[in-house]
Structures are given as C-alpha cells and as structure tokens.
Amino acid sequence: MQCAVISNRPLTEGFFHLSLAPEEPMGAITPGQFVMIRCCDFTDPLLRRPMSVADFEPDGSRFGLIVQTAGRGTGMLSHLVEGDRLDVIGPFGQGYNVPQEAKSVMIVAGGTGVAPFMTLAPTLAAGGKNVHVLLGARTKGHLLMEERFLHAGAQVHVATEDGSKGFDGLVTELMGKQLDHMDEPPDLALACGPAGMMRAVATLAEHSNIPCQVSLENSMACGFGACLGCVAHVRGEERYVTVCRKGPVFDSREVEI
C-alpha cells in the first residue's frame, strides 16, 4: 500500500509525527494495531519496521505515526517530507479491547507508547469512562501528547526520570503510588512502552488484581504471522504465540513479558 506523506512534524527532540494518506483506503483500525513500513527501496536495511497506528480517520483515508529515531530505518523516516511516498502494509494484529463494563481505565504510556492512546483515550473518555493517563518520559521536554489527553477529558499524571515535571521517577513507580492512593482501583489497565515497563505494569496490575493489557515490541520480520520470529512464550505452557498476529496487545497474564 503506497501512502503519501502529508506532513512530518517534529515533536520533542528525537520524536516526530508522520501523517500519511494511503492511496487506497486502509481497512478498519483498532487502537493498538500496527503497520509495517518499508524504510528504503534497497536491501539494507532489509526488513520493514513495525509502528503502532497513532491517530487515524475512521474511514481509513489518513493515519498518523509517532516515531522515535532509534536507528537506521527510523532515521530515514525522519527525513521524509510532504509529498514523499512510503510503502506501508497493515493494519496488523490485535489492538486493545475495552469491555463495555469497564467504567474506569488506567492508561500507562512510555515514550512512543502514547501512540495507540491518541485515539483510544478520547474515545473512552467520550464514552463516559473515567480515564487516567500516566505518562512517562526521561525529562519534561520529552513528554508527548499531554495536552491532547487533557483536552480529551482524561486525568493526566506525569512522571519524569529527572523530576523536571510531575512525579520524580519512573512512570511505573507513579502507577504504584496511584493505585495505593485511589479510592477504587481502576477496572482495567492498558499499557504501551518498552518491555521492562510492560513487565512492571503487569506485575503491579496483577498484585492489585486489575485486568491488564500490554503491548509487546518483539522484533518482527514479517508482521503478519509468516516467519514465527516475533513469538512470545505462553505463560505456563511449552508453547509460543505470534506477537504480530495474536498480539501485539495481550492480556498480561497470557504471555511471559
């Protein structure tokens, strides 16, 4: 699927927002799903890069990505300008699944992990749910999308590792404190971020008996279930599941993180 680059907007240092218009409309998107991006026409780097879909139009005519420059592929994406074309396939995988009954939802996002919640948090808030968004970053300047979540009517709590804004520490420590202080624990926790953070969020949620969905970022060769390279170990079984197809969002008790 060829996409036209509509804009490439720098966010904080090392992060940018790419807005893309598919030449044919994409299928329906669930927040938490991802696309696979070809960063160059040649064979080095060879494989596509997985990127969560961030904001998107319901009719599939446009979608956005929040990208962190991590290496070669994302470095090339950072140079895209309006009018360039990009080869994208997807959306793939299973997104977050918020049951009707969940009245209060805690979202924990680190770095580009805010991406899936750009659309999901406003939808949940608009649907009358009580939404807490916990945002983590290394420093104040790296916080992403705080305004957007505030505007959507979510309660936003910020943690920075250098204490330059909000809670002084990791977002998962903040989550622990929040859970301790809340009158009623949330009905559901949703998280997206690096593996270490997912592990900590899952542990906290389990201790508090809160159902929790995490998004895994395993390395992927294909993104659609063909290579069996991205698998996660199923908890307590001698069996693996494909993160790209059965995930990337999993119930935290289902897989080893």
């Binding site: 064979t43 060879l46 494989l47 060769a221 294909c222 659609f224 063909a226 698998v231 996660a232 693996y240």
Partner: protein
C-alpha cells in the same frame, strides 16, 4: 506466454514458488492475494509431532539479510492433515510438503504418511536438521547420512516426487547433489540457509537465544547461484533455485544457472505480494531476453 514448468511431474503454473518456513501453510498469504496465482509453495517444515520451536529472540536483521533460529516450530503432521489440507485442496496451486526428522525412522515415517495425503503434490526433505543419533551434526552435511536418509525415504515414497533440500554449509555441494540423485531423489532444492551469528555487544552474547541461526535474503544470493550452477553441472534431476530472490531478474539468474523453478523466501516478509508479482513480470522479461519459455533458459549460462 506460457511460463508453466514441469518439475519432476509437479505441474507449476509458473516457476515462482513460496519457500518453506516463509510461507506458513499458504493460507497466511490469502489476505494478500489469490493463492491460485502462484506456482505453488512449500509448507513450513513438518514433523510427526507438533513442535514449540526455539526460545526467543529467534530473528535478527543483518546486512541485506536476516538470521533465523525458529527451531522448526510447526503444527505437526496430524493437525496439518486435518486442519490445513482440507482448505488447501480447494486451491489450485501446487502444495509441496516440507518435512524433517531427527532420526532416519522419523524421516521415513513422515515421508510415507505425506506420500499418502491427497492434495499434496510433492515432498521436500529438509536434511539441514541435527541428526540426534549422530551427535547432532546436520544430516545434510554428512554424505553417508544423506545417502542413508534419502534412500530410506525413497523406498517408501511411491506416489509423489521426492525433492531433497540441500544444505549450503558443505565443502562441495555437487557431491551431495550426486548422491541424492543416485539415491533416487526426483529433484533438489538449493539452498537452505547458511549458518551465521550476530553478537549483541552490550549483552556480550549472541543475539539469538539459540546462538547461531540461518542466514537468508539477498546477501546469500551469489552463494546460492553458484551452488545451483554446481548442482546443474553434477546432476540431471530438476533443481529449485533458492536464496535471496527479490526481482524477476533474480528469477532468471537462477534459471540460467540451472534451476527449473525457484523459491522465494525472506522477501515474502518484505513484500508479501512478491510471488504473484514476479510471476506477472516474468513473461515480459523473458520476451526482452528473446526467450519464448522458461524451459529454454534453464542452464542457459552454461552454454558457450
């Protein structure tokens, strides 16, 4: 232009086939295109029992290639027969069952069972597997073990072409090609992955949980073309050319080196529609090269 080929009795609409382990059981690709457009595909390597595969990480990108150590995760023969075959029988494309064992008996049992399955068009023996009876070195890197396992399978396979997929991790692949032909193989698949390793320098250990893995992708194409060339010189049975194919040019390159048909592996991950695309581009390229069929170009680079 008719680009169909006959691979030892397997009728391929076109010479572009999905390589084992990169094409699932075919159905994974149904969301991208109509499977009846492609020449055929090789299933993920099948074993008697289902297999969980290796611990993770299992893959790692390399310059113009990738390493994998999937560990032959597969659904097992029974589930393949009961769950996948009913769907595959409805699709007009060649289904080639790739299989492996850890003992000669496992190979033979699988070969006999696959030979009996309706809708399977051919059998592809993967002999790059560790031979548990002989200390774990791959069957396919020892000439005697190769001979033994191919002969054993040959004696039980009565209905379908038996193709042997060779390991490139050997000193002289033509010796293996000859022994397979002499042991009754109907065709060869050349090549499987080269053994490689990438080290994570911050963790001070190999990136893959398994240590080493199989190198595939465009990086290995020149090695694969050379090996197809050598095998073509050594044997008369048809050859599937495999290794880093990414364009119609590459397809023709393998055919000229001596392949009757080709398999595309890693590039399916990058471009899931690549096999029908190459099949579509091929006639025009052949025309530009002054050829009227695939068959007339097989081994063309050997003529003087």
């Amino acid at each position: 232009m008719d680009i169909s080929v006959d691979f030892s009795g397997i009728k391929l609409k076109n010479p572009v086939v999905g390589a084992s382990g990169t094409f699932g059981y075919g159905l994974t690709y149904e969301k991208f295109f109509d499977l009846s457009l492609i020449g055929g595909f090789c299933t993920k390597g099948l074993s008697l029992q289902s297999r969980a595969g290796n611990p993770i990480p299992r893959i790692c990108e390399t310059p113009s290639g990738m390493l994998n150590a999937i560990g032959l995760q597969n659904v097992g023969l029974d589930k393949f027969t009961s769950k996948k075959m009913p769907k595959l029988r409805k699709i007009d494309t060649a289904v080639i069952a790739n299989f492996f064992g850890e003992t000669v008996e496992e190979y033979t049992e699988l070969a006999a069972k696959l030979d009996a399955i309706d809708g399977v068009h051919g059998l592809e023996m993967n002999i790059s597997c560790p031979n548990v009876e002989k200390g774990g070195a791959a069957f396919g890197t020892d000439i005697k073990t190769t001979e033994a396992v191919v002969k054993a399978c040959r004696s039980v396979v009565k209905n379908k072409p038996l193709i042997v997929k060779l390991s490139p991790n050997v000193t002289d692949i033509s010796e293996f090609a000859r022994v397979c032909e002499a042991s009754g193989a109907d065709g060869l698949s050349v090549i499987n992955t080269l053994v490689g390793m990438v080290i994570d320098i911050t963790k001070r250990k190999p990136v893959l949980a398994n240590g080493a893995g199989g190198l595939s992708g465009p990086a290995i194409r020149p090695v694969a073309v050379r090996m197809v060339w050598q095998c073509y010189k050594a044997v008369k049975i048809p050859i599937f050319g495999i290794g880093g194919i990414a364009s119609a040019r590459d397809v023709v390159e393998f055919i000229m080196a001596g392949a009757t048909a080709v398999q595309v592996g890693t590039m399916n991950f990058v471009s899931p529609g690549i096999i029908p695309q190459l099949a579509e581009e091929l006639p025009e390229l052949l025309r530009r090269l002054g050829a009227d069929s695939v068959t007339e170009l097989v081994g063309a680079a050997h003529r003087d």
